[in-house]
C-alpha cells in the first residue's frame, strides 16, 4: 500500500462531494451551517443504530440485522432534519438577503443531503484510508486485492445517493407524495442490502446505475429538464431562471 493508493482512493471517494462543497456551499455561511446540521443528524442516527447493535448482542455477527435497522434509523433522522429545516425556514429567510424563491427549499434539501452523505462517507472510509498509509498487503490471505478501490467507489456512490435521496425525500414530504418517500427508503434498503454481497463490479455497477436514475429523478423534481442541460452544455446564458 502506498501513498498513491491512499490519495487515489481519497479523491475517488470524496472528490465529487468535495467539488460540490467548494462550488456551491463554501461561500454561503448559512449553507455551511445546514451542512453541519445534516452531518450531525446522520451521526445521531448512527449512534442510535450502534446502540441497538450493541444491545442486541446475540445478533452482532448478523450484520444484516444491524444494517436494516441502521437504514431505518437514518430515514427517521432524515425526516427529523426535514421537520427541523422546515420549521426553521422562516428564521433562515431572515438570514438571506435575496427574496425567497422556490428553489430555496430544494437548496436546503440538497445541502442537508450532502451533509448526510459526507458524514456517511467519512465514517465508512476514513479508518480504512488511515490503514492504507500503513504497511501491509491487501488480500494476502486470499481476499480480493481490490478492497480499497471498491470501497472508495462505493463510498462515492453513497455520498451522492444520499444527496439526491434527500432532495427527493424533502420534495415528497412537501407534496405528501408517499411514493417518493417509499422510493427513497426502499432504494436505500435495496442498495445497502446489495452491499452485503461481496463487493465487485457486478455489485458496484447496479449501484451506479441506480445513482444515475436517482440523479435524473432529483434533477427533474427541482425543475431541471433536457433543455436546461443542453443550455448548460452549450453555455447559453439568457432566459433560464431555474438553476
Amino acid at each position: 500500500m502506498t501513498a498513491k493508493e491512499f490519495f487515489g482512493c481519497t479523491f475517488i471517494a470524496y472528490g465529487p462531494a468535495f467539488a460540490l462543497f467548494i462550488f456551491t456551499i463554501a461561500r454561503e455561511p448559512l449553507r455551511i451551517i445546514i451542512l453541519i446540521a445534516g452531518c450531525f443528524f446522520w451521526l445521531l442516527s448512527l449512534l442510535f443504530s450502534s446502540v441497538l447493535w450493541n444491545i442486541v448482542w446475540p445478533l452482532k455477527d448478523q450484520l444484516a440485522f444491524g444494517l436494516v435497522f441502521s437504514v431505518l434509523f437514518q430515514e427517521v433522522f432524515r425526516f427529523f432534519v426535514y421537520k427541523l429545516l422546515r420549521k426553521a425556514d422562516e428564521g433562515l429567510q431572515t438570514f438571506s438577503d435575496a427574496p425567497p424563491t422556490a428553489s430555496d427549499k430544494h437548496m436546503i434539501a440538497y445541502v442537508a443531503g450532502l451533509g448526510f452523505g459526507l458524514m456517511s462517507g467519512a465514517f465508512s472510509l476514513v479508518n480504512v484510508l488511515a490503514m492504507a498509509t500503513g504497511p501491509g498487503t491487501v488480500g494476502i490471505h486470499g481476499d480480493s486485492p481490490h478492497f480499497f478501490i471498491t470501497s472508495a467507489l462505493m463510498t462515492s456512490c453513497f455520498i451522492l445517493l444520499h444527496t439526491f435521496w434527500n432532495v427527493i425525500f424533502f420534495w415528497g414530504c412537501d407534496q405528501r407524495s408517499y411514493l417518493s418517500i417509499a422510493y427513497v427508503v426502499g432504494l436505500h434498503m435495496l442498495i445497502s442490502c446489495l452491499t452485503l454481497l461481496p463487493l465487485q463490479l457486478a455489485t458496484i455497477l447496479p449501484a451506479y446505475v441506480i445513482l444515475l436514475v436517482t440523479m435524473v429523478i432529483a434533477y427533474a423534481l427541482v425543475g431541471g429538464s433536457v433543455k436546461n442541460v443542453m443550455a448548460f452544455v452549450t453555455c447559453k446564458r439568457a432566459g433560464y431562471t431555474s438553476d
Partner: protein, 451 residues
Amino acid sequence: VETREAGDGEDRGFRRREEEEEEEDTEMTLKYGAKHVIMLFAPVSLCMAVVVATISSITFYTEKNGYLIYTPFHEEGATTASKVGDSLANAAIMVGVILVMTVFLVILYKYRCYKFIHGWLILSSLMLLFLFAYIYLGEVLQAYNIPCDYITLTIVMWNFGAVGMVCIHWKGPLLLQQAYLIVISALMALVFIKYLPDWTTWFILGAISLYDLVAVLCPKGPLKVLVETAQERNEPIFPALIYSSTMMWFVGMADSDPEAKKKKKKKKKKRRSDMQAAAAPVGATGGDEEGGFSEDWYESRGYEPTRRPNRGGNASDASMNSEDARSAAQALANGRVSPGGNQQQQPQAQAQQQEEEEDEEERGVKLGLGDFIFYSVLVGKASSNGDWNTTLACFVAILIGLCLTLLLLAIFKKALPALPISITFGLIFNFATSNLVTPFTDALSSQQVYV
C-alpha cells in the same frame, strides 16, 4: 448606556435614533449571525486540525514524560476507583488554581494595576511564542528526520517570536494576528494533552465547563465582576488574548480615543485564568519557572455600535489595518438590503450607513482563546487513540455546540459561556463513538457493507 453631552431636544431626537438603531441592530444581528458563526467555524476548525495533525504525526505529544505540578496524582493505581479518585482530585486542584488566579486578576484589575497585568500577559505570550514553539519545532524536525543547524533555528525562532509579540500585543495585519492566535492556542492545547494524565484530561474538561457555567451566570462570579467593572469604566478589556474576526480598534484605544462612547454594550463575559505551565516535569528541561501564563476566555457578541461624534479624531488612527478593516466592513455592508423607501432621508441614511459600516468593523465576533484551547484539547485527546471516527464525531459535535451557543446568544442577548454546550456534546460523542459506534463501523467496513 447614556448620552453625556446631548441637550434636551437633541436628547429626544437622539433617543428616537437610538430606537431605530436598536431595531436595525437586531436585524443586522440576525443577518450577520450566520456570517459570524462561520467566522468562528474557520479558526476553530483550523486550530483543531493543527492539533489533530500534530498528534497523529508526532509521537512526542502522546508520550507521557512527566506531569504538571497542578496534577499531583498520577493515576498509577490499578483499579478504576483509584483512577477516578485521582482524576477528580486533579481536576479539583486545577479548577481551584484557575479560580484563585481569576480572582487575583480581577482584584488587580479593580485596583487598576494595569502595568502588572500587561507585564503578566507579555511574559506568558513570550513563553508560548518562544519556548513552546521551539520545542514544537524541534519535535517536528525530529519526527521528519530533518537536520537543522542552530543558526537557522535561531533566526527562524527569533523572527517567529518577535513578529508574534508585535502582532498580538500591538498592531499587525489581521490575518497574521489571527494566525498567531491560532498557533498559540494549538501549542497550549498540545501542552495540555501531553502533560495531563488521561482520565484527568476528561475530568478537567467537564470541570472547566461547569466552572465556566457557574462563573458567568452567577451574580458574584469573578467574571461578571470583571465585566461589570470594565463596563463601568467604559474600557475595553485586554484584547491581547482574544481572537477577533475584525480589526480591533481597541488596541490602545483607552488612551488615544477618549471620545468613543459605547451606546449600548451587550454584556460581555470574560474569564481569565492563569496557568503556570511550569517546565518542571520530571526529567525534562530543568525546572525553570516562567512567569505566570494567563489566558482569558472572553466571549462577547461584539455588537457594539459606537457613537463617534468627533470623527476627525480618528484620522490619526487610520493606518493600513484600519483601511483593510474598513474595506472588509464594506464588503460585508454590500450584502445589505438598503433600508427601503426613505427617499427624503437619503443623506441621513447615507451618514447612518457610514456610521453603521464603522459599527460593522467593530462588530466582528470575538471568542476567547481558552475556548479554542479546550476545544482542541478535546479533539486532540479523542484523536490520540488513532480512531478517526471518534475525531470526526467530536469535531462535528463541537461545531454544533458552537452553533447552538451562538444561537442562544442571539436569542437571550445575555452573556453566555462558550464552553459548556460544546464540551458536553464533545464528551458525549467521544465516549459514545469510541465505545459503541466504532465496533459497529469497523465490522461494517471490514465486510464492505454500507449503511
